[in-house]
Symmetry: C2
Subunit: 417 residues, 2 copies
């Protein structure tokens, strides 16, 4: 570690995603205790409900009761100054030399492998963007042919659609293969049955921490004040259902059966060391989409598949920086018509594909519509997911001795019921 | 009135939507009282919180506290047997000869013109169907040309998409004209400004009263057990924003700035007298979309426009029966992939257009994309909505002396901010 890295009195494994620079929030349940808020640190969860009860998290605007809630929403609604103060205070409590937790250590630090993680936020509305040029181009080529791959609007606005909030589940939740209508291009009529083209989509989502009223616009300058933090997001997709249903109003049953998120919400502040300039954007965007500063992040991401009782194979290595539209542009666009946001809303990036063929963030792209086999370590091949495959997504970055990570989002695809 | 019609000891105006056969639920606030549940009856609101407190709504499965909630969700979650028992009991209390309300009459019956109506349900997720063949055909012709008007999937499945739940507002809420990107077909690049093609969409929405788990399917036979009741729904649309943004993922900013609903949720039971057979469906639908019985409803609907300080003109006369897909098919389709539903979810029909040109449920269709003028009584013309226009939708039916109605959903379009 170099001079920038803080040290904790708690032993944190060298490869841990959850260093003192990260401090992500989640909702956990241990033994017979009720759900409560915690922060991941090394191999432990720091129990914020207990800390608040013991008076260790006092401060202006604080409401100690929020850490005993089922969701983080009421904590987020306290506002950015409180998020900053709590984050600063937790860092202080964990920093080498601080002894304030000594008396509570056994109780306040719960082994992470002993707890159950729950959905961290109540998602009011979920929006899915489509902000990777490579993904949009790849899918466009396959669904509509190379001449219509990227729609004329794509480089003028961050295309997005509303998804289903009720079926967003936390990592570890099993996913059931959906049934639905599909139609092969040469079939005379659609047929019904389990999807044969099950896929993942590698995305990163951010969580809204500050609401707006109807008619209110968020500028690109203000956007980051509305963003609480980030999770990994697997937008499970049934490609055959999607292809038949999606015109003219967009994806519906091909997507809304499930999406999975990682349980730890990584604060925007934790990503600061990884800010980088965004991609050049041509043609020039309209004034409301222009921005100052750096709002892209250099965070490597990967996707692995583990067959039932099998070995894990990483099938995709991408990066959060592979997005054409940044988070500030996404929020400015979402609210430019006066659409109101609520604390807990989730904004997913869309599949994050890069230019290299092994950086494509979905099997649809990796297998190029099922044409090419993706080889797994056990010798088997995938064009789409098979029953009992687990999909694992991870993300994390290191720079100047500072390491942070998202942990993982994991889900197993069960056979159709 | 004929022999089927019940009589109340309360005087109910002959043209009232809110007869003893209707008994719709809403959330109201009067003077300095907190919001609470009520039932519309004639010119009054029956205060259910007060009735429950006085022990007049007891019964198996009942929780009197639900009527003091801010939303109807917890009442709905008690389940259909409770809805039926409460409805039966309220009818009993209001029927000629019953004297149980005598002691509370002044307090329990609040004049409707003295109360403020609030959003009746907390909408978790909002789905918009696209179930009128005439509407889909009309819009398809204008957006994609006559050869692609009705997509190949349209007669095989009830097309739908997810909309924005946070911007659904109750009747009477002002709507601000949205700004956004638009692009004329011959323009080299998009431009930014207030929408110039503001429109309404005449819809009816139903409210989910019984939730499902992920992986659970609702058959067409079971569907009505999940439906609590109905409201009128104005899906405000910015056609120029929609046309530029909607491909390939569907409508977003062209719709999500606002939708308006009528404040009174009309129970499914109240619509029983108006059931009629559905339209013939060719080609034959897949087995999961087949249904028994009658699930369409003969309920005339109308849309009026009132210019600022002007006279009202009815511009559209349609009917709820003008839908190709019925409510049971919509729910069976929505859940056939295992998508879970939650109490309070709202399912809108899509614009309800008939075959007659004056039955088209949007200005886009009435003016045929702005080509034809819609004449108002004050001599002015509309192709799309003008600033300070109010849009009023109404619906109601009468049969065998039994009359029920939805009341109205009203909204005024304010200039862009």
């Amino acid at each position: 570690m170099d001079g920038n890295a803080l040290k904790s009195w708690l032993e944190i494994p060298g490869n841990s995603d959850f260093t003192i620079h990260n401090l992500p929030y989640g909702i956990f349940r241990s033994r017979d205790r009720t759900p409560r808020a915690g922060v991941a640190i090394g191999d432990y969860v720091l129990d914020l409900a207990l800390l608040a009860k013991e008076g260790l998290l006092k401060g202006p605007g604080m409401d100690a009761a929020v850490f005993s809630d089922r969701y983080l929403n009421n904590f987020m609604a306290l506002g950015k100054p409180v998020w900053q103060a709590v984050r600063h205070r937790i860092g202080e409590l964990l920093t080498e030399g601080n002894t304030e937790l000594k008396a509570y250590k056994e109780e306040a630090l719960v082994p992470r492998d002993s707890v159950e993680m729950l959905m961290p936020v109540h998602v009011g509305n979920y929006t899915d963007f489509y902000s990777s040029e490579e993904h949009a181009t790849n899918v466009g080529k396959m669904f509509r042919g190379p001449e219509n791959a990227l729609m004329p609007n794509w480089k003028h606005l961050p295309v997005a659609y509303h998804g289903r909030a009720s079926s967003i589940v936390v990592s570890g939740t099993d996913i059931i293969r959906p049934k639905g209508q599909t139609k092969a291009p040469d079939a005379p009529a659609p047929s019904f049955g389990p999807s044969k083209r099950m896929d993942f989509e590698l995305e990163v989502a951010f969580v809204i921490g500050k609401s707006t009223q109807m008619g209110e616009r968020i500028s690109t300058d203000e956007a980051e004040d509305h963003i609480f933090g980030f999770v990994l997001f697997n937008d499970w997709s049934a490609r055959d259902i999607q292809a038949w249903e999606y015109q003219p109003l967009g994806p519906f049953l091909g997507k809304n059966f499930a999406s999975s998120i990682s349980p730890w919400v990584v604060p925007l502040e934790a990503l600061e060391p990884f800010r980088i300039p965004g991609r050049a954007q041509y043609p020039e965007v309209l004034p409301y989409l222009k921005y100052k500063g750096h709002h892209s992040f250099d965070i490597p991401l990967e996707v692995a598949i583990t067959p039932d009782n099998g070995e894990e194979t990483v099938v995709c290595r991408s990066n959060f920086k592979n997005l054409y539209w940044n988070i500030c542009q996404q929020l400015a666009h979402h609210t430019v018509n006066g659409c109101n946001l609520e604390v807990g809303d989730m904004m997913a990036s869309g599949t994050i594909s890069g230019q290299a063929p092994d950086s494509f963030g979905s099997l649809l792209e990796l297998s190029w519509g099922g044409k090419n086999a993706v080889k797994l370590k056990d010798g088997s091949e995938r064009r789409f997911l098979e029953d009992n495959d687990s999909v694992i997504m991870r993300g994390g970055a290191e720079k100047g001795g500072i390491r942070i990570g998202f942990g993982e989002v994991r889900g197993k695809l069960l056979p159709a019921n």
